[in-house]
């Protein structure tokens, strides 16, 4: 007997028929003799409708109310799941965040979980009932409803799995696992059977939308085995686990990309110690995130050029901020490019194997793909290239690092 958390995303419970389908997946685990705890998102579309209603007012001034409104989505879905389970003879118990309770800080809209009263969940299991817990929501110490922000239901599921020492946390979604690369672009992409938390963190933060970074971090911190799988097929998906020896033999586990990159180059800055702060503090004040940064010598050999990337949606605002601070930063002119993409190869093997970067750069060079900026971490190398070359670059690297499906 295993103890399994089954988490259903919005598309997996998006209609009554999908809820019934999800209940078959619950029934299957129970028939296999397992203990099941269900965590659910709101029915797909419901949250957007609720957000739309709340947006008649200024959300930033009404966060408590916003959380009260959007949390009703899960309140409806868990009750419907419970009803559908009863219909097939399974006694369930829907639980809202305040009923568990899932105790959070009071940071409305993006609260963090502090503690889960797992004894209440375990009592229900012992009573041979299936707890159906609302994802995405909790309460603060003043009994106010709070929500966990984007990907909050995944975080709820992993946190609940950790709190009840579940053997596994199954995240049911509309894809059947994590792929070596986006299969919509690289036809030879293959599903991974397993991936380490560290690699998944890079995948998540580099644009693979399957799991949010927060839930992966939580799984890593509490060593929760997570499986990402499809609620349509219910077939074995991709396991997120602690790294093992075998994983280090793989040079590269997968390739991620993001298309909404833009860069800004400040030409001929008078070099002085405080220049980075002069550039980045005003950007940060406007909530503009800076990603890759490169500093190079300028044409005249005395001054420097400074290049950084931002999300494409932030480019206009970033240029404005630079112009406003032109005298202070002391640059000559700005060059921008808003049709760039970032390609990243990810793999634990990079820590112990050398030559991965060389292999990447030469593969791209052989296809005449120019690299604008490079950044690296322990298990990742990212390069900025022209957007129209994404498909070519991904396919080239996918083949070169022996990821192609046979």
């Amino acid at each position: 007997m295993q103890r399994i958390v089954q988490k259903f995303g919005g598309t997996s419970v998006g209609s009554i028929s999908k809820i019934i389908k999800a209940c078959e997946l619950i029934e299957k685990e129970i028939k296999n003799g397992n203990q099941v705890i269900v965590v659910s998102s709101a029915m797909s579309g419901d949250t957007n409708k609720l957000v739309g209603l709340a947006e008649n007012f200024d959300i930033s001034k009404n966060k408590l109310e916003y959380d009260m409104i959007v949390s009703t989505g899960e309140q409806v879905s868990i009750a419907l799941i419970s009803m559908a389970l009863r219909k097939i003879g399974i006694v369930a118990r829907p639980l809202l965040g305040w009923q568990v309770p899932i105790l959070c800080n009071n940071n409305h809209i993006e609260a963090k979980i502090n503690n889960i009263e797992s004894n209440n969940i375990l009592k229900i299991i012992e009573n041979k009932e299936v707890p159906i817990i609302a994802g995405f929501q909790g309460i603060d110490e003043n009994n106010n409803i709070v929500t966990l922000g984007r990907g909050g239901s995944d975080t709820s599921a992993v946190a609940i799995a950790a709190s009840v020492s579940a053997d596994r946390c199954d995240i049911y979604t509309d894809v059947d696992g994590i792929y070596t690369c986006d299969p919509r672009i690289v036809s030879k992409a293959k599903k991974l059977n397993k991936i380490s938390y560290e690699e998944m963190l890079e995948f998540a933060s580099l644009g693979a939308k399957v799991l949010q970074t927060r839930s992966v971090e939580m799984a890593m911190r509490h060593n929760v085995t997570v499986q990402v799988l499809s609620s349509q097929t219910g077939q074995k998906g991709t396991f997120l686990i602690k790294e093992d020896k075998k994983m280090e033999n793989e040079l590269v586990s997968g390739i991620a990309y993001t298309k909404d990159e833009a860069n800004i180059t400040l030409i001929n800055i008078s070099d002085n110690p405080g220049v980075a702060a002069k550039i980045f503090i005003p950007l940060s004040k406007k909530n503009i995130n800076v990603d890759m940064i490169v500093q190079t010598g300028s044409e005249n050999g005395k001054n420097i050029n400074f290049t950084y990337t931002v999300s494409r949606k932030d480019l206009k605002q970033a240029i404005l901020v630079m112009e406003e601070n032109k005298n202070n930063i002391n640059f000559e002119r700005i060059i921008t490019n808003d049709s760039l993409a970032k390609i990243s190869i990810i793999g634990l093997g990079m820590r112990t194997h050398t030559g991965v970067a060389d292999k990447m750069f030469s593969a791209l060079a052989s296809e005449n793909i120019n690299i604008h900026v490079i950044s690296t971490s322990e298990i990742k190398i990212s390069v900025l290239i022209n957007e129209e070359l994404v498909k070519k670059a991904l396919e080239t690297l996918h083949t070169k690092f022996e990821l192609d499906n046979n």
Copy 2:
């Protein structure tokens, strides 16, 4: 300074613009120096949508889940009201049933309120905030959400008013008060400035849908002054109060009617002591409510005829029940009529004045309106007439009892 509960029905908060309008009514009371506690229904339409969703399953087997789903309607409306108030500079605090808490029995779908933690409400008032409380909902002793059934939000409002010793409970709705008769039928109907609880109870139970019987009973029990008024005009409505001497001088306060009446007459029953039980117990088992009952001697002078009325929707089922129990009840045949209406005159004055019934019957006779069945209570006389004569009967009685608007 007065302490006032303002209760808004579904149509009064049915859209963002209506919510903003309701907030103006709240603001007005606050500017008058009053303490305000708001109770709200769900936005009109929302509850029906939620019920529709729940009805994908068998509600009778899923009452806990049903309550969890439908209670989200008020969760949304109170948060929106709070947002709209903040926009005009009023600090509000939305409170769900479990947050107050409003403690109820565990009779899901039609729970009764046991206790309201009014200290929590009073603390918010003392803090110069306006509590916005979800009507219709509470929790049982196991922290399950329960709902109060039809008209539950009115009951919540009156119970809250009683618990905080409010000076008044204003029920905002889409009519501007209680009328002597339905103004859509009797053009000379006039708005009552006040009405006693007892009279209002008769009105409510006789088809005037403005207030549900339960909320009136609760107001009477706790002596809560209730005002029914329009959220569109905000003008003075009708006050429900304890009867006073002056009220007894009015022979008749108003005339109510219901159109969905049907009657069943069982002809030639062998008279025996247990016959009423033999008729009514099987009906009760099928949840068929019987209203007026008349027993008369039959044609042959030995046996009896038995006439009773049911809702028109229950007629078919009632006939079926009679046929199934024909041998046990021992009647000869059934006569039914499904195009009847019940007209009732209501007035505290009947208790002390004689001749009211005579006046009613002769007025109807003078217009050739035949009476099928009569039933009376201390402050009410009801008669069953043919449906097509309703308008004529109402107008005749309205004039005869001097209720016409001048």
